[in-house]
């Protein structure tokens, strides 16, 4: 006996509790099984790339904050690195160490958000999310000490950071570094061995390395398929060649390994922060005003710099025509490109897996739409 059924199409989003912003998916179901997905973006498009063309190079830093608003320090870092390469600025060592500390803390914060919301999508009523947010709160407070803002930092400047860290930052950082591993352990105790999470995420939305690389997927998702590819090591920038850390990889390539990988990356980031604190030495945090003026005028040319963002390869393509504002500024947003295989990952899974997979990819609509 066969039941005659008819596919049903549902618009999930742009207003939906778990689309992580204003994202829309036109999903076709056969019963509970997904047979087609079409992602539709652009609800948060603000024309950042066009806006940058009428701002000076320093003013563009404020635009990068607003792209991926849960990892704005990393966006700052990528953009500043591109600008430094384009205009041949040598950064001050203390500034570089400081921005490495800031961006690794930001990576921890971003992964905390990713893990928290992934579990939220699984249906845990906010408990792991609040535990994650509790830790993120400490990081945001440290950012407030550093630069007076919690989300839209604008902390980095060409050649380093805008101001040295205050005394209380180091105290708070010491507390955090001491405290954080036990909190991650707590989060892991709640989540990692939980059978429901395990059975719901294991072997769902599996990607092979070839598929992932072919679709330009980078970051934790690529590493969860077993490819040891991290731009911090493979295309090293700042002083990442002077610190020791591991690149955790998993070979499963499913949702569970993505979750576990993020937890491990948080520990690795903490390791980097510790080493940065050991290595940092007193000195100026940015070049003198005479060397790097407020209005940077890079020579004519273009450059592409990619860093390992929290969500993947975060690239900035800058074209200069010698004036005070970029001629063209392109952002290679990892969030957008990581969604390329969303359809292939979702087809054949159930409704319950949809948002779990989506949360596992960990996108940020601010960066997808820009």
């Amino acid at each position: 006996m066969s039941i005659k059924s008819e596919p049903i199409t549902i618009n999930l989003g742009p207003q939906h509790p778990s689309t992580h912003g204003v994202f829309r998916m036109r999903v076709t179901f056969d019963g509970e099984t997904i047979i087609d997905v079409e992602p539709i973006f652009g609800y948060l498009h603000r024309g950042t790339e066009k806006l940058a063309e009428e701002r000076t190079y320093t003013q563009v830093v404020t635009l990068t904050d607003r792209m991926d608003y849960v990892s704005s320090m990393l966006n700052n870092q990528g953009y500043i690195l591109a600008l430094e390469k384009l205009s041949n600025i040598t950064p001050e060592p203390r500034g570089v160490w400081l921005r490495m500390i800031a961006s690794e803390l930001q990576r921890i914060a971003s992964h905390l958000v990713a893990v928290g919301f992934l579990i939220q999508d699984l249906g845990a009523w906010g408990t792991p999310l609040t535990y994650a947010m509790r830790e993120r709160e400490k990081i945001l407070q440290m950012f407030e000490m550093l630069c007076g803002a919690r989300i839209t930092n604008s902390y980095l400047r060409p050649g380093g950071v805008f101001m040295d860290a205050p005394e209380q930052f180091w105290v708070a950082l010491k507390d955090f570094v001491y405290d954080f591993p036990s909190k991650v352990d707590e989060l892991e105790k709640l989540l990692t061995s939980n059978e429901i999470i395990f059975s719901r995420t294991k072997d769902i939305a599996v990607l092979t390395p070839e598929q992932a690389i072919n679709a330009s997927i980078t970051g934790p998702i690529l590493r969860s398929t077993g490819v040891s590819w991290d731009l911090r090591k493979d295309d090293t920038y700042d002083f990442y060649d002077q610190v020791k850390f591991d690149i955790p990889t998993h070979s499963a390539g499913d949702n569970y390994s993505r979750y576990l990988l993020r937890v491990q990356e948080m520990r690795e980031s903490l390791k980097i922060v510790k080493q940065c604190v050991e290595n940092i030495e007193p000195g100026p945090v940015r070049p003198h005003h005479d060397e790097v003026p407020f209005l940077v005028r890079p020579p004519k040319g273009d450059c592409y710099v990619a860093i390992e963002g929290s969500k993947g390869e975060l690239g900035f393509y800058l074209v200069s025509d010698g004036s005070i504002s970029p001629y063209r500024w392109h952002v290679r947003s990892s969030s957008l490109i990581n969604l390329t295989l969303l359809r292939d990952m979702l087809i054949g899974t159930l409704f319950g897996d949809l948002f779990v997979t989506f949360g596992g990819i960990d996108i940020n609509m601010g960066e997808v739409d820009r």
């Binding site: 973006f41 652009g42 498009h45 024309g47 790339e49 066009k50 598929q211 690389i213 072919n214 679709a215 330009s216 997927i217 980078t218 490819v227 590819w229 493979d234 295309d235 273009d302 450059c303 592409y304 990619a306 390869e313 690239g315 393509y317 074209v319 001629y327 063209r328 392109h330 290679r332 957008l336 490109i337 969604l339 390329t340 295989l341 739409d369 820009r370």
Partner: protein
């Protein structure tokens, strides 16, 4: 990771595919519009290059022409390269170039984005439609001749 010297890479490419390289400089190779698919296929599939990761596709409007920029990376040879294509001389309305979707699936959204914001048509792309802006949006905003309409700022309902 090593960055390919543009001149060196141009030499290698022109040895294998004739009439493909237009010019080259230290960082990038300029490929002719007609041969771009062939060159990308060569770069992806030949051992020694093996550019398996398409980092980014973007386009720049240089007023008299457009430039499509490919940033390629190789996980196997740990190297990266920049390929550029000049097209659309004389402000063509719809400059066309071969899509690299069949080589890298990662080109899907990026080419759609370039089409949406810069108006460059990628031939053979399976689903070339606007991605960030809505269908029927007038013009392509990242072109330099696009007029930003200051009147379209949302009225914030100021009470008098």
């Amino acid at each position: 990771m090593i960055e390919w010297n543009g001149n060196k890479l141009a030499e290698e490419i022109s040895n294998h595919i004739s009439d493909s390289v237009v010019s080259s400089d230290d960082h990038s190779v300029y490929i002719s519009k007609e041969k771009i698919y062939e060159v990308l296929k060569f770069l992806k599939e030949t051992s020694g290059f093996s550019f398996d990761l398409l980092s980014s596709i973007t386009a720049v409007d240089y007023i008299d022409h457009f430039e499509v920029v490919y940033h390629l990376k190789s996980l196997i040879t740990l190297s990266k390269a920049t390929i550029k294509v000049k097209l659309g001389f004389g402000r063509e309305d719809q400059p066309e170039i071969d899509s690299s979707y069949n080589l890298w699936k990662g080109a899907d959204f990026q080419e759609r984005e370039v089409f949406d914001l810069m108006g460059i048509h990628f031939v053979n792309h399976p689903n070339l439609k606007r991605i960030l802006l809505w269908d029927g949006f007038p013009g392509h905003p990242l072109r330099k001749d696009f007029v930003t309409n200051s009147q379209s700022v949302v009225d914030d309902g100021e009470d008098k």
